[in-house]
Amino acid sequence: MKQTLSVDLAGIRLASPVVAASGCAGTGRELAGLTDLRRLGGLVTRSLTFEPSRGWPGPRVAETASGIVTGVGLQNPGVRAFVAEDLPRLARAGIPVMASVGGGSLQGYIRAASILRGEPGIVGLEVYLSGADEENRGLPFYSRIDRMAEVVGAVSRLSTVPVFAKLPALLPDLVPAARGCIRAGAHGLTLIDSVPGMAVDVRRLRPRLGAIIGGLSGPAIRPIALAAVFRVAQDLPQVPVMGVGGIATAEDAVEFLLAGAWAVQVGTALIVNPSAPTEIAQGIAGYLKAKGLASPGDLRERMRLTGEQPARGTSAS
């Protein structure tokens, strides 16, 4: 049996199912000296906005139990500068690039997506939906399914490459939100975004982040991410899902693939261990071999679910 690590996500062919998550791979220049970039399945850029953003003032990171809370605030050079400066370098390195698109308004998303439209070297888009919506009292885009669908739909119609909507885990109606994004035109989903989190410096009586509330990532959120992937994959088995949240080892990645993910993203683990994606991909290959399976896709629906199944979309508590 010929074994392969390659996966096909709505037409995006990746040589490995392990992708660098948004915001954790720098500009593409930094990792080059530390790991073989060609062995990455792909790379999601930090979220790009139409206008450059300086992001939040510091401190931007606080370490907590088995995780980190970060509040970077989408610091990025703007989508035009990315296309002019970072993208050619990434394309030369031969990595499939998915661009993460952010914005503060529908118009912001449309402008950013227009600049990325048809750019060679970009194999897919990921839509960041945790930002504050200027047109909805600063609430995150994901707080309303119709608003999410509006943004995802607009980006999808503009895009010439597959579009993935990145959703947070802690939505009261995650499965309907996932369905809403797909119905609006998204080709796949990325689950999950970091979990809202906070840390306080009790000695100095101050929040530990400049942003006050940031996003928790790392091993602490892995079970949360896994449950989200499982719920959505059960409901939408034909939709490509990239699982992300605290994956640091091959075993972690296999958990997600068994729960229904088509590929995985590695974020916090990458900033701790630059060769984590390569090590994880090798470990997945070893696992597939040991189980006599041909490709990562064979792991989907392999999980043995015993006993009574909860109704789809409900959260068993």
Partner: protein
């Protein structure tokens, strides 16, 4: 920059500080003063971020060739764990990282100012400056005697030295800035280098700008990745053309900066402002949870 599994050659106490010497020839031969190394933590995932330490010594010649020393003040998980590390244990180390101090071109009198374990990179710098025929004078500040970093070696490395402690337990009582103007005057200082906490760097920077003394400062910013991936260790730096400022990564575009271009007011406000102002343009981070 290289990533290596480095053996600990020696781990010892230095007053309040802990020192670790590694066998890491790939890093030592490239290391320059001001640069740092990134050390991985145990993989039990209790705390996950790598820890970052400025390079105190990188030996390229003699019996210690190929070794690298860094010094830290144990505080909290990570540094406490590292303080327990013993000789012959192996560490996952990436380095050298970051921008080094630049050496002055012409013959110059250099004043090296540091506080606490900021001195660790300054000693390395002092050796390299002396090897280039520069005059080195030092101001060594600390909270108290146990935090004065290697005072005897400091004397050996510099023409003149002023030690100043907040509690007066060693040298003069006061802060670094109480003595810098006098030390600079006495030594005929032409260039100032400084390493230490933000507040101290700012006072030194103001003096240098006021006196028109060229200077470089090494910041002690908490870093997450150390390699430029995560954009968490940023310092606001004014653009060369003065058209505004950019948040530059201390790990990649620093940790050595020109203090005349650091946007001090903005950077200092992070330590004092109770509620932050959102970034210009739009505020992308979750600000409230949907009702």
């Amino acid at each position: 920059m290289r990533r290596v599994r480095a053996e600990i050659l020696n781990a010892r106490r230095l007053g309040a500080f802990q020192s670790i010497t590694l066998v890491a020839p790939e890093i030592a031969e490239r290391a320059r003063p001001g640069q740092f190394v990134s050390v991985a933590m145990p993989d039990d995932r209790r705390f996950i971020l790598r820890r970052h330490f400025s390079i105190h010594q990188a030996s390229r010649r003699g019996g210690w060739a190929g070794t690298l020393e860094f010094v830290f003040d144990p505080h909290g998980p990570g540094t406490d764990w590292l303080a327990e590390a013993k000789a012959h244990q192996f560490l996952d180390v990436i380095g050298p990282l970051g921008k080094a101090f630049a050496y002055p071109r012409g013959p110059s009198n250099c004043l090296l100012v540091s506080e606490g374990h900021g001195a660790s990179s300054i000693f390395f710098l002092a050796q390299e400056l002396r090897a280039r025929g520069k005059r080195v004078d030092m101001v060594l500040g600390a909270s108290g005697e146990s935090h004065v970093f290697k005072p005897i070696e400091a004397k050996r490395l510099s023409q003149t030295i002023v030690i100043v402690t907040a509690d007066g337990s060693m040298g003069e009582r006061g802060s670094v800035m109480d003595v810098v103007p006098r030390a600079a005057q006495t030594a005929g200082t032409e260039v100032i280098y400084a390493a230490g906490p933000r507040r101290m760097l700012r006072t030194v920077a103001e003096f240098c700008i006021d006196q028109r003394i060229p200077a470089q400062v090494a910041v002690e910013e908490e870093m997450a990745c150390g390699t430029g991936l995560c954009f968490t260790c940023v310092v606001p730096v004014i653009r060369k053309d003065g058209s505004g400022y950019d948040n530059l990564r201390a790990c990649t575009e620093g940790p050595v900066f020109n203090p005349a271009r650091v946007f001090w007011d903005r950077w200092m406000s992070e330590e004092t402002r109770p509620v932050p102002t959102p970034p210009e343009g739009f505020s992308p981070v979750v600000s409230s949870w949907p009702a």
